[in-house]
Symmetry: C2
Amino acid sequence: MSAIRHALTTRRADDFAGWYQEVVSAADLAEESGVRGCMVIKPWGYGIWERMQRLLDARIKDAGVDNAYFPLFIPLANFTREAAHVEGFAKEMAVVTHHRLIADGKGGLVPDPEAKLEEPLIVRPTSETIIGDAMARWVQSWRDLPLKINQWANVVRWEMRTRMFLRTSEFLWQEGHTAHETSEDARIETMRALEMYRAFAQDQCAIPVIAGEKPENERFPGAVETWSIEAMMQDGKALQAGTSHYLGTSFADASGIRFQDREGTQQLAHTVSWGMSTRMIGGLIMTHGDDDGLRVPPQIAPWQVVILPMLRGDDGDAALLEYCEALKIAATKEWAFDEKLRILLDSRPGKVAAKRWDWVRRGAPVIIEVGPRDMEQGRVSLLRRDRLWNAAGKADFTNPQREEATGSLSAVLADIQASMFAGAVEQRDARIERGITGFEQLAAFFAEDQHQPGWAEVQWARPTGTELEQVVERLKALKLTFRNVPLDAAAADGPCLFTGAPAVERILVARAY
Amino acid sequence: MSAIRHALTTRRADDFAGWYQEVVSAADLAEESGVRGCMVIKPWGYGIWERMQRLLDARIKDAGVDNAYFPLFIPLANFTREAAHVEGFAKEMAVVTHHRLIADGKGGLVPDPEAKLEEPLIVRPTSETIIGDAMARWVQSWRDLPLKINQWANVVRWEMRTRMFLRTSEFLWQEGHTAHETSEDARIETMRALEMYRAFAQDQCAIPVIAGEKPENERFPGAVETWSIEAMMQDGKALQAGTSHYLGTSFADASGIRFQDREGTQQLAHTVSWGMSTRMIGGLIMTHGDDDGLRVPPQIAPWQVVILPMLRGDDGDAALLEYCEALKIAATKEWAFDEKLRILLDSRPGKVAAKRWDWVRRGAPVIIEVGPRDMEQGRVSLLRRDRLWNAAGKADFTNPQREEATGSLSAVLADIQASMFAGAVEQRDARIERGITGFEQLAAFFAEDQHQPGWAEVQWARPTGTELEQVVERLKALKLTFRNVPLDAAAADGPCLFTGAPAVERILVARAY
């Protein structure tokens, strides 16, 4: 038992799922809304999403992709055009059937039978078909290509069992949709988006990921190739944190995205789609959370530094507030990661210790407390969220001069960002097993009594069709799934773990969210 | 007849509604989506919305309001709690009744009768009730107040006759919702939001507005007071461009937002809501558009400067592109309105004259063309969108040295912003008639054969109830509405135009969108 009195009730090691729920609540990220399957994203959780949006959006714009906005509602007919896509999506969706309510005569309201839609509308679960319709209007010639569009939007996929940020009926995401002249151009865009997600996850969210191609059975419905970034959570499970799909010409065919090529011949465009969602916040929690709550990497923290004055409700408060205001103004002139620092002076009523633990649970990277003694000495008390406890089991405050503290904030934040990423890489790498060659050995590695085993990278012969289905079933019996074939994996040099045939590549096997 | 060959087919003066539609299309702002009542907001239109969002969001954050996100779906029961609110909203709304589709046996899909929702869900037309539910959970004590929340979201109000940006079934907006200890605090917030919209509209969108209180009959359903900013369009009609509502305690009562006050007594919170939507883009078009398309004020232009190289598909292109790249890099180092300049080098294939007119129609504030002769002389050809034509009816290019051009861009953009606003103010002020004292005179001013009359500011006794209804009916017969009682109107000093009783204030009368 640790001597430390941690800020959460549930320990990660004891009950990971319960711990996750407690972090979501204790860090003020989100809560149940009372509407089935939908959550309320609270200000601190939404602030993290806004930071993610701003950073990823800059990368999207840099790539020459334009943001646009398409209808929330999709006509039913759109879903029946692309056969594989229907299979994958036309199941659990919200269906709008009426456009008016009338009084039911008992003080309530009911859908007006007179206002039934001729054709029901679907609340978008994804926008390939509606954006495809627009692209068909916008593309006539090869000169109109590439056409690169992104949408930030809410989407709905009806879910029976929900889990905040990881699986909710409504969620927020961005969906990139691009159309190209050639298969080669489309594949280059597919890989550009994948690399964009990898860099965003690692360099900004401090979440290490492995980029690779999904096997056939895990492809997006209708796609030719699906690529993903996969992150390892602290319980050893995998989380797919972003995907990029090369869709070939089938979506273009279904939507009629045709163009006159350089030789004057009509061709179908090659399309690509790529997406990242509020799921990333779930990944953030399970990568960086600890037994004291969330830790937010400085680049995506809504507030990077929170200043807490020890107000006592007496005459001394005015001078203390002034001291803190000066500190805030000085610190706001500093920059980190090419942006001005984001500093909150939290002078709401309440005890400073209670407020400190609120901000620890939320995961603000740096907390600065200022009491009357600090002020007398021209100092502050500074706490790094990534190094919360000292050897004696106390909150590990340092006590620098005020000017020294403000001058060092930029470097401190950069150091927190780097050390959070390095720590997560180290944890992850220690748990990827590359030596497994037989199925029994694989089963043993993932045995139920094995505590949080991690991932296995195994050699395989890339079976297809029925042969692949059989392999997938065998894995499913162990609650395992294929994640992806890592881009940077070593070459195959032995037999396929599943079929014994000569392996052609290496693939990750894991339990997953 | 003007000798100028304008870039649009329809003249504002001939057919304002037709001209509006042509601008929406010719400036690449939006188009019909094929989904009833829903539009596609195209990249240039969405880019303008993103700029509006960013600028208004900064003001919202500066006021200590936190962004958050609430469910798209609202349970039916929420709508029956606040009687006046039901009256106002529970009519034309999208109703979700099923959560699954099944095959109809004829190759199509239908809602699955097995997956009918026990209680239908409404796609939010506004979020007072769902945010009220959350506030009821978050507020216990006076220490939790004020609670200030904002949401950027899509909302749906089923519309039979739609008009892009002005009236569509789905639109984008922000809705601020705040809860306060006292009526006084809530009224202060109501006015803060109103002033925020006034400053945003005028100082950033260059749209002159009049801020004032709506009369009783124009209040938000359930509100105690509704305030608005009203802008005059070039056809003389009014557009309500932002509203702020003091809701009293009735919404708090319906949602159960109660708190223990400083004396330990349970009290209802006083709530406020305020909103601004993509309608503002409609206001932008009708304030700043001309017979050559849209003019976008520099502060909200996605690209402030567009550089067009005169490429000829020969060996000279490389040097010309290099010259333009250098120009772009130099210009990107300049700042305007406390932000780096936004510069596009548009080197897509196509003739420069065609591209110039594309950007004129879209309304980019400054267009810089560079041909081989410009390059030889170290010069550029610069066109201001707000001064497009010279006296000879030609595009009014100036021909500065390259360094002079880049060095002056910041000042040029500031001048365009200021002159667009000043021009709009001048047009508006000339068309507000303050001398009308009788109803016949009012009717004559707004007579059908009167071309685009403008607004009348008249004295009234602020009748209420049935008396007000009668006045509203008389105005309605002339297609007129009350807009607001301007905050800065002169004091009343005569009889009420409608009742003859001593007037208490002045109110704007106008046709409106």
